[in-house]
């Protein structure tokens, strides 16, 4: 129980920060992020991930749902999108930022969008 409260503290804090931050994301930015995420020559997330509203998703990676509970720290989500091989060198996920498949600005937009799922 103490363990739980200890863990819940920072999580709740991060969640609050996350909520504050995510409220700053405009609808237009979310739409732009979604477009990049769905674009086959850009994020192309649907090749491997289910995203609500996307057609013919692949199933190599986990479905992109409940992202805020899976990534209380939004920066960790961004880091994962930027280079998944940093944590797991064998990861099949392309290093979207490290290999400049997307620009830093595009990574920001995609992160905001994915975080909203």
């Amino acid at each position: 129980m103490t363990k739980l409260t200890k863990r819940l503290g920072p999580t709740a804090l991060a969640l609050c920060i996350g909520l504050v931050l995510s409220t700053q994301v405009s609808a237009a930015d979310l739409e732009a992020g979604k477009k990049i995420a769905f674009d086959r020559s850009k994020g192309n997330c649907l090749t491997c991930h289910h995203i609500d509203g996307g057609t013919l998703p692949g199933n190599i990676g986990p479905p992109l749902i409940a992202m805020k509970s899976r990534f209380p720290d939004k920066d960790k989500l961004r880091a994962q999108i930027w280079d998944a091989t940093a944590i797991n060198p064998h990861s099949i996920m392309p290093p979207l930022g490290r290999h400049r498949i997307l620009s830093e600005k595009e990574i920001d937009l995609v992160t905001d969008y994915i975080y909203s799922l």
Binding site: L46, L56, I60, H99
Partner: protein, 284 residues
């Protein structure tokens, strides 16, 4: 004296131990066991049917398509190419022997004279040149039609690639193996990432095939290539497919019949030893 001998011997042992890469036989055994454990219901030969061995719906579609297979015309064209004499009166039989069913199973193989991997396509064009004929293009068209015919004639025989105990042959095998497992291109993907780690999973609507059995159905008729071709010819060689895969992960593809792709074919086909030849195949 005895001491020196022991010393020498242990030094030798150490040397071999540090070089200890697994042998092709060990690689093959582990490769096969991996897929058999992962897909316990799939018969060994069925791995040669790629995604159709892994998904009931895809299999049903494929089976109905196989009733009037789109590659049939190209098998016939290949037969014609086989039978049509060269200008000098000879024919492909003068290079490959009279029985067209005995050709496919010999490839790829290690040629100890030239110290390189020889492929069916390589020998087809070699035969043409030696007989004063213009060689075929490497990736599609006549070379794939002739390959389709030779594959069709060899159906039911088993893949039997031999890796001779020759350091150069082993080097070629190792290079091909490394190629299969190394991430490449801007998307940072290895052949093995999809076909070892995630066979049976979907990328968009496409089901990833197993690395086991990947070469048995080549040359292949692909619906994707059919759509792209003005004349509807969807036939292509294994190296055409390699190039397409490499381009998709945004790596610069190597040339068809390059050393890299021949060595990859050597390893890749060896991994399917014992499986039935089922060429030409159909794929999406």
């Amino acid at each position: 004296m005895k001491k020196i001998l022991t010393l020498l011997l242990s030094a030798g042992l150490v040397a071999t131990a540090t070089q200890a890469v697994s042998s092709p036989e060990e690689d093959l055994e582990k490769f096969r066991i991996y897929y058999e454990q992962r897909f316990p219901g799939v018969q060994l030969d069925d791995f040669g049917n790629g995604p159709y061995a892994l998904d009931v719906n895809k299999r049903l579609q494929w089976e109905s398509m196989e009733e009037f297979p789109p590659y049939e015309d190209y098998v016939d064209k290949g037969r014609e190419i086989w039978e049509t004499p060269f200008k000098n009166g000879k024919s492909f039989a003068s290079c490959f022997g009279k029985d067209p069913s005995k050709v496919r199973v010999k490839y790829p193989h290690w040629d100890s004279k030239t110290q390189q991997v020889v492929t069916l396509e390589g020998d087809i064009n070699k035969c043409l040149k030696e007989n004063g004929e213009k060689p075929f293009g490497w990736k599609k068209g006549k070379i794939a039609h002739l390959g389709a015919f030779l594959g069709y004639e060899a159906r039911g025989q088993r893949i039997n690639v031999v890796i001779p105990d020759d350091p150069k042959a082993l080097e070629a095998y190792e290079e091909g193996k490394h190629f299969y497992y190394a991430k490449r291109g801007q998307l940072n993907l290895a052949c093995a990432d999809c076909h070892v780690q995630y066979p049976g999973h979907r990328v968009r609507g496409q089901l990833l095939s197993t690395g086991l059995g990947q070469t048995t159905h080549f040359p292949v008729f692909r619906a994707k290539w059919q759509k792209a071709a003005a004349n509807g010819d969807g036939m292509g060689t294994l190296h055409r497919r390699y190039g397409g895969c490499n381009g998709q992960v945004r790596a610069r593809p190597f040339k068809a019949q390059s050393r890299q792709y021949r060595n990859l074919e050597f390893f890749h086909t060896y991994m399917s030893n014992g499986l039935e030849i089922n060429a030409p195949g159909y794929r999406e």
